[in-house]
Structure formats: C-alpha cells, structure tokens
Amino acid sequence: MLKKVLLGLIPIAGALLFTTLILVAVGASPWRAYGNILAGAFESPEKIADVVAAAVFLVLCGVGMCVTFTAGQWNVGVEGQIILGAIFATWVARNVPWPQVPLLTLMMLAGMLGGALWAALAGLLKVYGKVHEIFGGLGLNYAAQGLAIWLIFNPWKPADGATMSGTDPFPEPAWMPTLGHLRVAPLAVILALVATVVIYFMLRGTRWGLELKAMGKNPRAAFVMGVPSTPRLLAAFAVCGMLAGLSGAIRCSARYGRMIPDIAGGQGYLSLLVALLAVSRPQWVPWIAFFFAAVGVGSPRLELNMQLDSTLGGVLRASVVLAVLLTNGARMLLARRRARLRGNLSAEEV
C-alpha cells in the first residue's frame, strides 16, 4: 500500500521538477512562484469559493468522461456538448416565464437534453457512419461553436447590437443563487457531487457498468458474450453528454447569467485531462478537479506579482498529466518485459 502511494507520487514529483526547471531557466524563484499560486487560490474565502466553482465544471465533465472512457470511447466532443447544454438552457431562460425553482429545474433538464443529443450524434456517426469518435467529436465542437455565435449574433442579439460579450442578461429567476457574496452556487456543487456518486455506483454496481467495461476492454468478445453493443455505446455517449450539458447550463446560469460565445471556455479539453488522470475512476475526479481548479485560479497571481505569464499554470497541469501517462506507460512496458522474461506471453503477444 505504501509502495503504491509512493509510486503514485513519482509523476507529481517529476512534473514539479519540470516546471521548477522552467522557472529556474527564466530566472524566477520557484518557491515564490508556487507560493503565489497557492496564495492566489486559497488566501481568502472568495478565492476558495472561486476554486470550488471552477472545479464543479471539471467534476461534471470529468465524471461523464469516465463513462465514455470505460466504454473505450474518446469523447473529445465534450466542449460542444457544454455549448449545446448552454444553448438549450438559454432558450428556456429566454422563453419560459416561470418562477425561479421550476425555471431553474427546467433549464438544467434542458441543458442535459441538449448535451445528451449532441453526444448521441457523435455516437450515431460512429456506429452508423463509421466516423471515428475523435473526428466526429472535434467536428461537432466546431459546429456547436458556430451555432452559438450565430444565435448570439442573430436571433438572440441584444437590443443595442450584438457583441462578443453575449446575449442580454437572463431574467432574475434564471440566475442560480450563489452563497452570499461568494461566486459559488451551492446547488451546482451538490449536483456535481451527486453526479459523481451516481456514476460511481452505475459503473461499479450495475450490469450496465459491467457491460460498458467489457465493451471498452474487448468489444468483440463482449459482443460474442451477448452485450448489446450499439445501445450501450450510444447510452455511454448520452450520459457523458448529459453531464457536460448540465455543466453548460450551470455555466450560463450561475457564472455568467447570460449566454456568451466562449461559454465552454476550454473546460471540455481540460476535463479530458482530468478524466485521463482519474483512469475512469469517478471517485478520483473531484480531487483532481480541485487541484486543476486551484492551479487555474491561482496562476493569474504570477502575472500580477512576478511578471510571469499566467499560462505557467497550464504548463504545470499539462506536465502532471504527461508525467502520469509516461509513468503508466513505463510501468506497463516493464511488466511486459518481465512477463516475456518469464516466458508467459503467448505467440501472438510477442
């Protein structure tokens, strides 16, 4: 157990070493830089609330991506699914004159529907059009971005002219309430945690989860064993899209209070990294998301206090992911080599 924990720390140490080298190379003090990131993320209740609010989106999308990863699918279309969720929620906010509780409920449901449909489209392209899900997902991301811009500049343009700053603010009841003056919506945090728990049990304790796992590991054998591959694959995409769409609805309702062109803000790609680090284990996602969010909220401080570019935070996150993947790859190679030395691999594996 201790050995496992220590092995897990190797990549993090490696990533820190790498960013430290970069800092030393540009002549900055690594201690001060890390101190600034930490202070930027945790120095005040406001900052901590920002970190939690940012983590919510990564948790929702990351947990969703655990589902598609389990089924062996690379759902890189999360960015587009967030946008579609936001679009559906915005339509509700603009057109349904209900009081707050039913309106917010309907907005969240609409967001989930929008994301699920967009993701299912990537799944349908894969199953019936033989379009690999990575290409389908990327293409749909651009289509979603285009759709959002068209909506903001045409049917939804504000009375005083369309700009990149988005639509008119939503009516009051469509704003998700935040905790006092802090910028975190408790409801969003609850939704993210509920999603994590539900997906954890779905993947671990149900036939559905087991069938997805079987498909992800060996689609042919799973089919021969009677797993209905097509419905399961589409469902995996839809569930992931649902959570991405929910995060899109929360973004426009709680964070911006309107629809903006860059509503997804790269969260889809960032959460892909979160899910990669979590290796399809939903229970790890909140911790990793929290770390990512903290680095994201803390790094602008580098620019203010040390005249360093705030993208250093991105470098740190990315090198953690790369280091973890590299260590996993190296471990697998070593295991194979050991197996080959023992002569345990069969002919086709050599």
Binding site: A214, K217, A222, G343
Partner: protein, 488 residues
Amino acid sequence: MKVELIDIHKHFGPVCANDGVSVTIEAGSIHGLLGENGAGKTTLMKCLSGYQAPDRGIIKVDGRTVAFSSPAEAIAAGIGMLHQDPLDFPYLRILDNFLLAFDRRFVPRRREGRALLRSLGERYHFDLDPDAEVASLTIGERQQLEILRLLALGARVLILDEPTTGISTPQKVQLFETLRRLAKEDGCAVIFVSHKLEEVEELCDRVTVLRQGRVTGQAEMPCPVSQLVEMMFGRSLPPLERPPVERGPVVLALQNVTIPSYRLTVEGASLQVHAGEVVGLAGLEGSGQQLFMRACAGLERVTAGSIHIDGVPMTHAPYRRFLDRGVAYVPANRLEEGLIRGLTLTEHVALVDRKGPFFIDWAAAREDASRRIERFNVVGRPESIVEALSGGNQQRALLALLPPNLRLLLLEHPTRGLDVESTQWIWQQFLARREQGTAILFTSADLDEILTYADRIVVFFGGRMSAPLPAAGTTVEQLGYLIAGKEA
C-alpha cells in the same frame, strides 16, 4: 544460393513451434514445405527470413553461418519472404509501393523505378499498371507486386507462404510458371510452403514434411501421395468404439447456404444436425469451416439459403436471438473473442448472466464463480483476471461460462494446445451435454479427435462442403485425402 537450416528450435512460451528442425534447400530447386496448420512451417520460415530469431540452431547461406536480426538484414543477404497476407500499403500506387522498398533517397527516382518495374514485369509476364492503387488489385496481383519487389531487392531465395490461398486459377498457373523460371533459369532457391498436396506434387522438386514442430519425412518428387499423407497426418489409429447414439429431432438445419467473405465464399452448404449428435468439421484452416460455424452462431452474414434452429427460421436473425434460442459459440482465440482481458472471473460470470438483475449482487456472483471454478477444475480464483490463467485454464473458464441446457453448441478447436488429460476431461463435459440433447458442431485440426468424438464428419476444401460421412469406418488416411482436396 543454398540454404541450410540446422537443428532449429523455437518456443512461444510453453508452445514448441519448432523442435530441432533441419532442412537443406539447394539452389535452382523448388522445395516444398508441407504440413498441417500449426506444424511449424511458418515459424521456421520466419526464422529464416529474419522475422524472429530461433531460440537455438544454425542458419547457413552458401555455407556461411548467418544470424539476421530483421527482415531487412535477411533481404540484404538475398532471402525474401512472401507472406500469407501481402505486406503492402493498399492506398498507395503500385509504383510507390515498389519504390518504398528499396529507394531510400529523400526524393525517390520515379522514372528509374518505373523502368525497373516494367522490365521485371515483362520478364516474368506480370502485367501491373504502375499507377493503379494497390487497394484495387486482387490478392494475386498484390502477390505479383510483392514478388517483383523482393526480386528488385536482390532476393535469391524466395519463400512463399501458402501463396495460392485466395488467388484465381490462371493466376496460380502464372505464379507456378514464374517460380519454375526463377528456379530453373535464374538459379534461385524457391521454398513453397503449403498444405495442398496437389500443388506440391505439381510444382516441387523435393519435399520436407513437418508435423508438430518436427521433420517427419523428406522425399524427392514425384513421390506417392499416400506416403505424403502418412508423413503429414501420422499413422491412423483405429477409432474408439462408441455407444450407439439416440438421435433426437433436427436442431440445426442449413439449406444451400452462401456465406461470403473477402478471402473465400462458402457456397451451397447444406447440413442437418440432430439433438444429441456430434458433427466434426474437418479441413485446413481457412477452407470455410470457421465461416460456416460462425454463420450457424449468427455471427456471419448469409446471402443465400436458409438457416433454421429447432424449426424456427433464423437466416437473417441478429446474433442475440441465436443466444436466446440456446445457441453458444466457443471461439478458438480465447483472449480475442471468448474472454475479456482485465476482467476477473467473477465479472465474467456476472456478465454472461444476461437476464440477471440490473444491480449486480457481487457476493452472489463471487459465490457462483467459485462454484464454477471448482466444478471445472480451473486453477484460479474468482478475483483472477483471465489473462493470468494458463491456456488450458482459460479454456476451462470459457466452458465454465456456458449456460446449462443448450440446444446447439459450436466449438472451434475446443482442445487446441491442451494436454491429453485436459482434452479427455473437456470431451467428457461435451458428451454429457450431448446426452441432455444438445447438438454439437466442432472444428479441429486433429483428425484423430474428429474421428474419436464425432458421429458424422463433413470436410471443407476451398469453401466447398463435402457430403457428411459417418465417422465409423472412416480412416485418417481417407480424411487426409479429402482435406488436401483429393478424391479418396
């Protein structure tokens, strides 16, 4: 160029593919390498062509000892191999495929390449359009391109691994003519790997027969076919006495079925299998028996004819309806189609319980798994992931996952790679199922196994199915003839 292989050994884990093989191939001759599937022919040739290194043994070319660490080194020494599946790039033009092999300049000289391709093509009467995409060619034409490529690289020893699978008769005639010319006029050594007696008879000057990784005979051609059959399949043992079978109603009925595939089309296959009956499918790998079996399982598309199971039409039914009707298919490549790497035995047990509850009761699944492990003598635990089991135990695990009360059991090489004891134990389980009224269809490369356990036998050759033979009174020799495409 003369090639000597001396005492070649090659193991893959516990499987011994070559066990002290020695062969000498003279320049200017066509040498046949004959044997069943899994006899070790391809392994031996891969050792010679630098694809893999032998564990032990010496390779001499023109008397000099050589050791190749890659196919590139082998071809530099003049040894080239034509693989069963042509190694080319389907979406490149013929010319580019040809140039890729030997023109290593940054900007390849297309004009020179084109001239060389044309002159070689004229010499061997291969009519290839340099600008055609390889994907548009037949397998025969792709082979021709591959031969020209190897010759352009300076091959003086040419190895052809089952080259006649999937090519047309005129292409075959042309190929044989080319091979003769290469040997007789150009003094190349040609090694012709095959399991087809007729072709070896027609083409080769000398034959070496392998069985189970050892040389079982060498002969100058012509040589009586009966002698070759005996070397290939061994002496026939008298089939065991079996109690008479109580045949039930027809379970599986195929009428004039056509099953298309890229390589081979099975045509006009008709067969009726009764409850409690065991039918063995004989034939060399890729003769159509696997396609046939997969079609019976609902895993292969059927374009003509009909399939009925227990009288219900199933010709175009989806695979899961076959499962619902009590059909089970046990594939030969266990870790590719039968079991799922990374999943434990308990997870497999829960997975095959298709009608199980949505929320899995893991404690019950684990108990079920231990019960099955005990019943089927699997050396493993419920938490063992399947790839950690040995081959024999994977096969036992696969059988342990089969549901009870099947109507039709389809087994692909059910005992391949297993020792005698495991084989007998596994057949006991199958025969017990037969007594419960399950119809069994199985393929095997081991003719003794087919003769011992089948009630009737059908033989596949080149996509054609023979009329069913009663197993009683049929000999290994008779089957050997049919399998190699000869009338008995």
